[in-house]
C-alpha cells in the first residue's frame, strides 16, 4: 500500500455525472477526489449518440424529464458553448407515425416549456434534402449535439482550480466501513498495479450502470437495470440538423450529426452485466430498416462502425413492475439520489442513478445538495451561473473551426497526421505532453484523431511513429512495445466495431485496410502470441 491521502469527499466514476459532482462539491468548498477505473468518459458518457436533448423526445410521456432537459439545454449553451454544436432539431412526422401523437406534439412541448415551432415541410426538405420526401409535418426544436469528453475536461479543470483532484485509471477495489460510516477507500492503479488508501468523510457513487457493484462493497443493495443502446456511425453527415421521428420514442428514430459523421440511434435492450454485451447483425439490420423511414437512402450509405452504451436505468423496487423491466423505455429517464443513511444505515454514502447526459449538471446539483445538507455545508450551488474554463461565451462549436483557425494563422502546410479530422502534429504533441501515460483511445477522445471516415486506417501507424520518435528521444526502453500496442489495439478495436456491420462498402474498406496492414506491412509479426494480456494499450511514455 502506498501513501495515504485524505479528502472531504470521494466521488466514484469519471463520467459526466461524476465530473459535474466533483465540480459542484469543489465550488462549495469541499476538497474532493474523483476516481475513475479507466479514462474519463469511457463508460456510458462516451458511448451515447451525442444528443443535447431539447426535451422533445420526452414531452408526451415524461414531462418532468422534458422540463429538466430544456432547462439544462439552456444552461449548457451558456456555460459550455464550445462543447455544443447548435445543429437545431427537427421532429418529423413520417407516414408511419400516428396522427394523434403528431397533433398533440406542439401543445405537449409548450406545456413542458420546450420551444417548438412548426415549419413548412418544403423548408425542412430544402435544408435537409436527404430526408424522406414523404414526411407530413415538421417541428423545429432546440436540439444540438454535445462533445462529452471536452465537457468532462472542463468540469475537472474547474474543480482543480477550486482545490480538488481527479485521478484516472484508479479502480476502487474496497471501502472500509466503521459501524454506520465509510472511513476509507482502496484504489488499484490499473497501469502500475499499486494500491493507494484514501480516507474520506463522504462517498458519492456516480458509477451509473455499475452503481450496484460499488454499493455492494459496503453490503448495500442497489439494483440497476442496465439498458443497452446500440448506435450506428455513418461516414458522412447526411443531415446537419438532429432528426427525430415525431412519435413515441422507439428504436432507430434519431439521427445526430456529430463532428464529421452522423449517428443513428438507438435500441433498448436489458443486459445483466454492463461490461458484457454483444451487438448482433439482426439488431443492426432492424436499426437501419427503421432509419430508412427518416432517410430512404440509408441502406446505401456507408456505415463506419456499430457501438453500444449501457444506460444507468434505475427503478425503485416498489415500482419495478415486470412490464417496466422488460421494456426499458418505460423506466423513467429522470434521476434519483439514493441517500444510504435512512435507506441502508450507511450515513455518509449517496448514489446518483438514472438521468441522462443533457441533465448531468442538474443531477450533480441535486446530489451535492443532499451531501451538503448531511455535512452541514450551506454554500449554494453556482454551477449554472459561471462559464466553464476554456470556453468562450456564446461561441458554440463549428465543424470548420480547425481549418479556419489554421487559415487564420496563415494557412499552408499544416503537418496533418489525421486528414479526416484535421489533427496536426503540434496538436498531437501538445496532447501527449499534457497526458503522460495516455492510451491511443485517450488520444482519439482528446483530439478526434482516427474518428473520421477512414477510422484510423491512415493515421494510427503515424501516431505509433510519433510515439516511437518521442519515446526514442526520451530514452524510453519500451518504444517498440508502445508502438505495437498502438497499432494492434487500433486494428482490433476497429475490427470489433466493424464486425456486426460487416457488409457492403464498409467491409470492402475493412478488407482493404487489413490487406494493407497484413499483406504489405506484416502486422501479424508484431503479435506476441504467447504473451499475457496487456490490461491497457498505453502509448504515452510513462513518467
Amino acid at each position: 500500500m502506498g501513501e495515504s491521502h485524505a479528502y472531504d469527499v470521494l466521488v466514484v466514476g469519471g463520467g459526466a455525472t461524476g465530473a459535474g459532482v466533483l465540480r459542484d462539491l469543489a465550488r462549495r468548498g469541499l476538497r474532493t477526489l474523483l476516481v475513475e477505473r479507466g479514462d474519463y468518459g469511457t463508460g456510458t458518457t462516451g458511448r451515447y449518440h451525442g444528443l443535447l436533448h431539447s426535451g422533445g423526445r420526452y414531452v408526451a410521456k415524461d414531462a418532468l424529464a422534458a422540463r429538466e432537459c430544456i432547462a439544462e439545454n439552456r444552461i449548457l449553451r451558456r456555460i459550455a458553448p464550445a462543447s455544443i454544436e447548435d445543429t437545431g432539431g427537427y421532429f418529423v412526422a413520417t407516414p408511419a407515425d400516428p396522427d394523434d401523437y403528431v397533433d398533440g406534439f406542439q401543445a405537449a412541448c409548450i406545456a413542458a416549456d420546450v420551444d417548438c415551432e412548426e415549419i413548412p415541410v418544403a423548408e425542412a426538405l430544402r435544408r435537409e434534402p436527404a430526408l424522406n420526401p414523404g414526411i407530413r409535418r415538421v417541428f423545429k426544436l432546440p436540439d444540438g449535439s454535445v462533445e462529452p469528453w471536452q465537457l468532462i475536461e472542463s468540469n475537472i479543470a474547474d474543480a482543480r482550480a477550486h482545490g480538488s483532484d481527479a485521478w484516472s485509471y484508479q479502480r476502487l477495489v474496497g471501502l472500509e466501513r466503521d459501524a454506520d460510516r465509510i472511513v476509507a477507500a482502496t484504489l488499484h492503479d490499473e497501469r502500475s498495479g499499486s494500491l493507494t488508501r484514501v480516507t474520506t468523510r463522504f462517498v458519492v457513487s456516480c458509477a451509473g450502470a455499475w452503481a450496484g457493484q460499488i454499493a455492494a462493497m459496503v453490503d448495500v443493495t442497489v439494483t440497476m437495470h442496465p439498458g443497452k443502446g446500440t448506435m450506428l456511425i455513418y461516414n458522412q453527415r447526411m443531415t446537419d440538423t438532429v432528426i427525430n421521428r415525431c412519435h413515441k420514442s422507439s428504436d432507430g428514430d434519431i439521427m445526430v450529426p456529430v463532428h464529421t459523421v452522423a449517428i443513428l440511434g438507438t435500441t433498448e435492450q436489458r443486459v445483466e452485466d454492463p461490461d458484457v454485451y454483444e451487438i448482433t447483425r439482426d439488431e443492426v439490420a432492424a436499426l437501419i430498416r427503421e432509419g430508412e423511414k427518416l432517410f430512404p437512402d440509408l441502406g446505401k450509405m456507408r456505415l463506419l462502425r456499430a457501438y453500444a452504451g449501457v444506460r444507468p436505468l434505475y427503478q425503485p423496487p416498489a415500482e419495478a413492475t415486470e412490464a417496466a423491466l422488460k421494456d426499458g423505455r418505460q423506466i423513467s429517464r429522470a434521476h434519483t439520489v439514493l441517500d444510504h443513511g435512512p435507506r441502508d444505515g450507511v450515513e455518509n454514502f449517496v448514489t446518483i442513478v438514472g438521468g441522462k447526459l443533457t441533465t448531468f449538471r442538474r443531477m450533480a446539483e441535486d446530489t451535492v445538495d443532499t451531501v451538503c445538507a448531511k455535512l452541514g455545508v450551506t454554500e449554494p450551488c453556482t454551477t449554472a451561473d459561471e462559464i466553464l474554463p476554456n470556453q468562450v461565451p456564446g461561441k458554440t462549436y463549428w465543424l470548420g473551426h480547425r481549418l479556419a483557425d489554421h487559415e487564420a494563422e496563415g494557412g499552408g502546410d499544416a503537418n496533418l497526421l489525421c486528414e479526416c479530422e484535421f489533427v496536426t502534429r503540434p496538436m498531437l504533441d501538445s496532447f501527449l505532453d499534457g497526458h503522460p501515460g495516455c492510451s491511443l483511445d485517450d488520444v482519439r477522445r482528446g483530439t478526434r484523431l482516427g474518428m473520421g471516415p477512414c477510422q484510423g486506417g491512415f493515421c494510427t501507424f503515424r501516431v505509433a511513429g510519433v510515439v516511437g520518435e518521442r519515446a526514442g528521444h526520451a530514452g524510453a526502453a519500451d518504444v517498440a512495445e508502445l508502438a505495437d500496442r498502438a497499432i494492434l489495439g487500433f486494428l482490433r478495436e476497429r475490427f470489433k466495431g466493424t464486425r456486426p456491420i460487416a457488409a457492403g462498402r464498409q467491409l470492402q474498406e475493412q478488407w482493404m485496410i487489413s490487406g494493407v496492414y497484413e499483406g504489405c506491412l506484416g502486422v501479424e509479426s508484431l503479435i506476441e502470441r504467447e504473451a499475457p494480456e496487456v490490461s491497457r494499450e498505453v502509448v504515452g511514455a510513462q513518467r
Partner: protein
C-alpha cells in the same frame, strides 16, 4: 459498335496477365476496369505461397495444393511456367524481379517495424532477400517531415528478436533521418510526390548525396540500408543504380501504405506490356451489365464519361477481385453476390464470416469465399457443371484461397490469368489481331 475477341474486367495482376496472354495469342483484347486494383496497395512483389511452414515458394505451393478446395490443386503445377513467362514481359519494361520458386523464404522487414515472408521481389527490394551475415548491420533511413515512415519506431521494433521469429536477423538496427532538398519544411508529401522528385535527374543527384552522407554518418560500415519506397517511378532503375553506386550500404525499399510505389511500377509495366502486345486498357469504366445469350456472353455494357459504352465480345474474363476489389459484394442480409453475372458464390453463412478476434490465427472464414471453377477456370454450379462456355474467372475472386494470409494471391492471379486466357484463345477466336485498328 466496338468489339473485341476477349474483354477482361479488372486491371489487377490477374486481369492484366490474362489480357497479355490473350493478346499474345493474337486476340483483340480490351481491359475494362472501374479503377486501379490491389497492385496499388500491395508490396509489389510476387507472393506465391509465403506460409510459415513453407521453406520455399515451391514447397508452399505443394502444401497449399493439399488444402481442401485450394485453387493450387489445379493451378499449382503451372505456377513456375507462368512466372517464367511473365518475367521477360516485365523486364522489357525495365522492371526486374529477383528470386524464384526455389529461393528460400526470407523475413523481410516492413515499414511498421514488422516482417513479412517473401522470396520473389522487385529489384528495389532485392537486397532484403539474402540472409543476414554475422555482424551485418541494418540502417533505417527516413526522410525528415515524411509522415508515412518513422525510422526510430521501425528500428526500435526491428531490434527485437521475436519480430524475426528468433532466427536470422541483422546484428544492429539504427535509425537516421535526412532532410531532402526543398522538402525540409514540407509535411504533407505522399510517397508518389517524393518519387516524382526522384525522377528529376538534377534533384536526384543532390538528394542521393544527402542520403549517402547521412547513411555514412551512422557508426559502422557496410551492411544494408532500408528506405521508404519512394525511389522514383518512371526513372526507378536510374535512382536505384545511383543509390547502389553512392550509398555505403546496400539499399532496399520498404513498401508503404497506399499509394504503393512498387505496386504502381508493377502495374505500369504490365500495362505497357499489354499495349505492346496489342491490347487496350480503359480505366474508369463502371460495368453496368453483361449480356449473354444462353451459355455465351455476347456483350459488356459500361457506364463512363456520361455515356453508355457497349462492347460486343467473343469471350469474357472476370478478374474483378474479391471483397476488397468489389468482385464479391457482401449484402446486408448476409448473402454474398457476384454482381456481373450473378455467379454462385461459395461462402460461409453470415454469422460465421468473421472470427471474434481480428488476428485469429485460423483466419476469417470469409477470406476463402469466392467463385468455384473447373480446372479451365470456367465458373461452375454447386454440382460442378459449368455455367458459361466463353467465361473464365481469374485471381482473388476464385474460391478456396486466402490471398493475403496465405501470401499466395500473386501466384494464383498470375497462373489463373494466364490459364484463363489460354483456355479461351485455344478455341478459334474468330478474328486475327488488327494492329492499329483501335
Amino acid at each position: 459498335m466496338p468489339s473485341a475477341d476477349v474483354v477482361v474486367i479488372g486491371a489487377g495482376l490477374a486481369g492484366l496477365t490474362a489480357a497479355i496472354a490473350a493478346a499474345e495469342s493474337g486476340a483483340r483484347v480490351l481491359v475494362l476496369a472501374k479503377g486501379h486494383a490491389a497492385t496499388h496497395w500491395g508490396p509489389g512483389g510476387i507472393d506465391v505461397a509465403g506460409i510459415p511452414a513453407a521453406s520455399t515458394p515451391r514447397d508452399g505451393i505443394h502444401r497449399l495444393a493439399g488444402l481442401p478446395g485450394h485453387p493450387y490443386a489445379f493451378l499449382g503445377d503451372d505456377v513456375a511456367a507462368a512466372l517464367e513467362w511473365i518475367r521477360p514481359h516485365l523486364a522489357a519494361e525495365g522492371v526486374d524481379y529477383a528470386g524464384d520458386l526455389d529461393t528460400p523464404h526470407q523475413l523481410v522487414p516492413t515499414s511498421i517495424g514488422g516482417t513479412r515472408r517473401a522470396a520473389i521481389l522487385p529489384a528495389g527490394q532485392a537486397a532484403a532477400l539474402s540472409p543476414w551475415a554475422a555482424g551485418e548491420r541494418l540502417v533505417i533511413c527516413g526522410i525528415a517531415g515524411f509522415k508515412d515512415f518513422w525510422p526510430e519506431a521501425i528500428a526500435a521494433s526491428l531490434t527485437r528478436e521475436r519480430i524475426w521469429e528468433g532466427g536470422n536477423r541483422p546484428a544492429s538496427v539504427t535509425p537516421v533521418s535526412v532532410a531532402l532538398p526543398g522538402l525540409a519544411a514540407r509535411h504533407n508529401l505522399n510517397a508518389l510526390q517524393i518519387a516524382r522528385r526522384f525522377d528529376d535527374p538534377a534533384w536526384r543527384t543532390t538528394a542521393i548525396e544527402a542520403l549517402a552522407r547521412a547513411i555514412a554518418s551512422v557508426p559502422g560500415s557496410g551492411g544494408r540500408v532500408a528506405l521508404p519506397a519512394v525511389l522514383g517511378i518512371r526513372e526507378h532503375a536510374a535512382v536505384l543504380a545511383a543509390a547502389r553506386d553512392r550509398f555505403p550500404a546496400a539499399p532496399f525499399e520498404m513498401p508503404l501504405v497506399p499509394p504503393s510505389l512498387p505496386g504502381m511500377r508493377l502495374y505500369a509495366a504490365l500495362r505497357a506490356a499489354l499495349i505492346r502486345a496489342g491490347g487496350r486498357v480503359q480505366i474508369g469504366e463502371m460495368i453496368e451489365r453483361v449480356e449473354h445469350d444462353g451459355r455465351r456472353v455476347t456483350a459488356v455494357v459500361a457506364a463512363a464519361a456520361a455515356r453508355t459504352y457497349t462492347v460486343r465480345t467473343g469471350a469474357l474474363v472476370i478478374a474483378t477481385g474479391g471483397i476488397a476489389g468489389g468482385g464479391l459484394v457482401a449484402e446486408r442480409d448476409g448473402r454474398l453476390t457476384e454482381p456481373l453475372l450473378g455467379l454462385p458464390v461459395e461462402a460461409p453463412p453470415a454469422d460465421q464470416w468473421l472470427a471474434v478476434d481480428a488476428f485469429d490465427p485460423a483466419g476469417h472464414p470469409l477470406e476463402k469465399a469466392g467463385i468455384r471453377t473447373d480446372a479451365e477456370l470456367r465458373p461452375v454450379a454447386a454440382d460442378g457443371a459449368s455455367l458459361f462456355d466463353n467465361v473464365r474467372v481469374a485471381g482473388s475472386l476464385l474460391a478456396g484461397h486466402r490471398y493475403i494470409r496465405e501470401r499466395c494471391g500473386d501466384g494464383v492471379a498470375l497462373t489463373s490469368g494466364r490459364r484463363a486466357a489460354r483456355s479461351l484463345t485455344a478455341v478459334p477466336a474468330g478474328h486475327a489481331a488488327e494492329p492499329g485498328s483501335e
